[in-house]
């Protein structure tokens, strides 16, 4: 339902959230990282500390409407550098909507209206002068269903680097492609058939190809929207190992329905419920000692 619509960047309106914490004026003056006032640390609807030590993404009072539907209600959350944050919650709770706000993929949905303060390294993501192409180069995304381009494996990985002009000649491009495939743990499987179509790979290989394609652009943040939901346990394990490795270099926000996966790969976990961010905290605490009743019910499998 969400993806069929047209992109329409102009239509996404910005409004200051009513009564939101962290008015954007102050954070831009003081700088988002230095800003650690107590009011900023605790969001009104959320249990736990929404801040990260070294935030690369900082969201305050984020709201998303799909037409009449208020899909995301007053979310405040940081994503730290070199951190893996898992977003969990029942279907339709807004976790995918949240990460799609971070690289403005919601712009493609005509009825979507995003308000609130979304910042990447202190820069307003939704500002008029923010270039969406640049933003998406810095905030890469891996989707739920592996979606390689119907082109060769090489072209799949090279595409981003090519359009962004990251390589000045063929040798550099080759380096980027091999390096990305290597970091995605795919190079041994495909190095002899780089000319074959990416769609001919198995599901797990396709998803790793998509990850290679994303890291070829050298982003700062990688958003993953249920990257393993279409994969078998073995392929899932490979992707999870890969996420561990990638966390050395990138900030990763991963949406998952598997609580085991969240527990395995993430440092912090955020629990969403009906468009609200209910609880955030270190992953081990969320799963062993949740503070909110809803979180506890969910992680203990009482619903969801």
């Amino acid at each position: 339902m969400l993806l069929m619509e047209k992109e329409q960047e102009v239509a996404v309106k910005r409004e200051l959230p009513e009564g939101a914490v962290s008015p954007s004026g102050r954070s831009s003056k003081a700088g988002p990282i230095a800003d650690s006032a107590e009011t900023d640390r605790i969001a009104p609807d959320t249990v736990g500390d929404v801040t990260a030590r070294d935030p690369v993404i900082r969201v305050r009072g984020g709201n998303v409407h799909y037409g009449e539907n208020h899909a995301l209600r007053n979310i405040s959350l940081d994503v730290g550098r070199n951190e893996v944050i898992a977003l969990i919650g029942p279907s339709g709770c807004g976790k995918s909507t949240f990460i799609r706000c971070l690289n403005r993929m919601n712009d493609t949905i005509e009825s979507a209206r995003v308000t609130g303060d979304f910042r990447l390294d202190g820069q307003d993501i939704y500002a008029r002068d923010t270039d969406v192409v640049m933003l998406r180069a810095r905030v890469g995304m891996v989707f739920q269903k592996p979606n390689p381009f119907p082109k060769s494996i090489y072209e799949n990985v090279a595409y981003g680097a090519r359009i962004h002009g990251l390589a000045s000649n063929r040798a550099e491009l080759d380096d980027i492609v091999y390096g990305s495939l290597e970091r995605a743990g795919l190079v041994d499987e495909v190095k002899d058939r780089l000319d074959e179509p990416g769609t001919g790979l198995s599901g797990g290989q396709q998803q790793r190809l998509c990850i290679a394609r994303t890291i070829a652009v050298n982003p700062e943040v990688i958003l993953m929207d249920e990257p393993c939901s279409a994969l078998d346990p073995i392929a899932t394990a490979r992707i999870e190992d890969l996420i561990d490795e990638l966390a050395q270099k990138y900030a990763i926000a991963i949406v998952t329905h598997s609580m085991q996966q969240a527990a395995r790969v993430s440092n912090r976990t955020a629990y969403f419920h009906l468009g609200r961010l209910v609880e955030v905290g270190p992953t081990d605490r969320i799963f062993t000692n949740p503070s909110h009743k809803l979180t506890e019910d969910y992680v203990t499998g009482r619903f969801g």
Partner: protein
């Protein structure tokens, strides 16, 4: 509610099963019946056309010894082209015939004798002399096309074995048999039909002029309507903001696709000919009119094929930071192209078979010359068929069918090309 016993459940399911299978069988039978009916009518159509038309691909020729008599061709000996052109070449043919049948004396019989050879024979001699005036004074053995009734008689006899003809006199039949016996009358592949323009004489009429007219027209249509249609579809589908204006445009494109084609002809007459002053009967104008007609078809087909590109490909492209333009041209367009090409070719095939709008812009004229360019007067294949179907000479019947066969062949080739392109460029995702 009472719970059924397993036996009772089985009995009821069994009863309903039998009903379901009966309905299914009946439905399949109706489907098969309609397909067979359709195929039957198609076969009937093709057999009629082929049975009527195959004869047009063979033509009788008469061998004559033609003496290019200077007294007839160039009485003044000046060798001036305009004088050579206006000479009475038919006389040469008549003289030659008289040498074969010297005992034909009276006027009526002579006229009958002259009807054995097409009046077009004279034109061929004229062409030869104009090309090489050195022929004058020499004698050449030539195969000249036979008259249309002779032609029909020979072919009809071959098919039906009858030796009578309502259109040839006893005497003429006798001459034909005599010529055949001496090997001076034979049938050949009818190259004139494929290389000639239109003519009042069936044996000289060909479809090359109409084919070339159709070709020029379709070229104009393709060059204009494909890029315009694809560009319009991309804009409407990918870039146009949602607004009432775009909705109005969309509705009107769909309406245009349903407008009767003759209306486009009237439009072309009013706009291209009356307002812009383009010449009548020109393939350029025909092409413009057919462009108007084809454009909505191409736009609709292109939009449908853009819509069918999966959103995951768009997201993937945007996700790595492709701009909108790059997303469309690197990813959406290559995937949508086979569908666009199919739509375009089917639109072009429709344009090729269209005659009504061309009647309005004067492409129905009797044009002997084979058109040489986009502005020279010409007809199109379907219009040529219409013209021949309207002609009184019996021999045009088989030519009409033959022209239909040629037109159908072109349509089949174009549709086959559409299928081939689709399977060739279709990519799975």
């Amino acid at each position: 509610m009472a719970i059924l016993t397993p036996a009772e459940t089985r009995r009821r399911v069994d009863a309903s099963l039998r009903r379901r299978y009966r309905t299914e069988k009946l439905f399949r039978f109706y489907g098969l019946l309609s397909v067979l009916l359709g195929v039957g009518f198609l076969l009937l159509l093709f057999t009629t056309i082929i049975a009527n038309g195959y004869g047009a691909f063979r033509q009788s020729f008469v061998r004559l010894d033609i003496q290019f008599d200077p007294a007839v061709v160039d009485p003044e000996g000046a060798r001036q082209p305009d004088l050579l052109a206006s000479a009475d070449y038919a006389q040469l043919v008549k003289t030659s015939l008289r040498t074969i049948f010297p005992d034909v004396e009276d006027r009526a019989s002579r006229r009958d004798l002259n009807a054995l050879v097409s009046s077009g024979g004279g034109y061929e001699l004229q062409r030869m002399v104009l090309a090489d005036p050195g022929l004058i004074g020499q004698t050449r053995t030539l195969w000249l096309p036979a008259g249309d009734e002779v032609n029909l008689y020979v072919k009809g006899r071959a098919a039906e074995g009858e030796s009578e003809s309502q259109h040839l006199s006893e005497q003429q039949i006798g001459w034909v048999k005599q010529l055949e016996a001496s090997g001076q009358l034979r049938q050949q592949f009818n190259t004139i039909f494929f290389t000639g323009g239109d003519s009042r004489e069936p044996e000289l009429a060909g479809i090359w002029g109409a084919t070339k007219g159709s070709f020029f027209m379709l070229l104009v249509t393709l060059v204009l309507s494909f890029p315009l249609g694809v560009a319009a579809a991309i804009y409407l589908e990918e870039f146009a903001p949602r607004s009432w204006l775009v909705d109005v445009i969309e509705v009107n494109i769909n309406n245009l696709a349903a407008v009767p084609s003759i209306v486009f002809g009237l439009l072309g007459l009013a706009v291209f000919i009356n307002f812009f002053g383009l010449p009548r009967s020109a393939p350029l104008v025909g092409g413009l009119v057919l462009t108007l007609m084809t454009l909505p078809v191409i736009i609709i087909a292109s939009r449908a094929s853009i819509k069918s590109v999966p959103p995951s490909v768009r997201e993937a492209a945007l996700g790595v930071g492709a701009s909108k333009m790059q997303m469309v041209f690197h990813h959406v367009l290559p995937l949508a192209l086979p569908g666009m090409l199919t739509g375009a070719i089917i639109g072009m095939a429709r344009a090729l078979g269209e005659s009504a709008p061309l009647l309005m812009i004067g492409m129905v004229a009797f044009i002997v010359e084979v058109p040489s360019g986009f502005l020279s007067p010409s007809t199109a294949l379907p219009v040529q068929i219409y013209l021949w179907a309207d002609s009184p000479e019996r021999a045009f019947v088989e030519r009409t069918s033959a022209a239909i066969m040629v037109l159908l062949a072109f349509l089949l080739v174009m549709n086959a090309a559409a299928v081939w392109l689709r399977s060739r460029f279709e990519r799975r995702w």
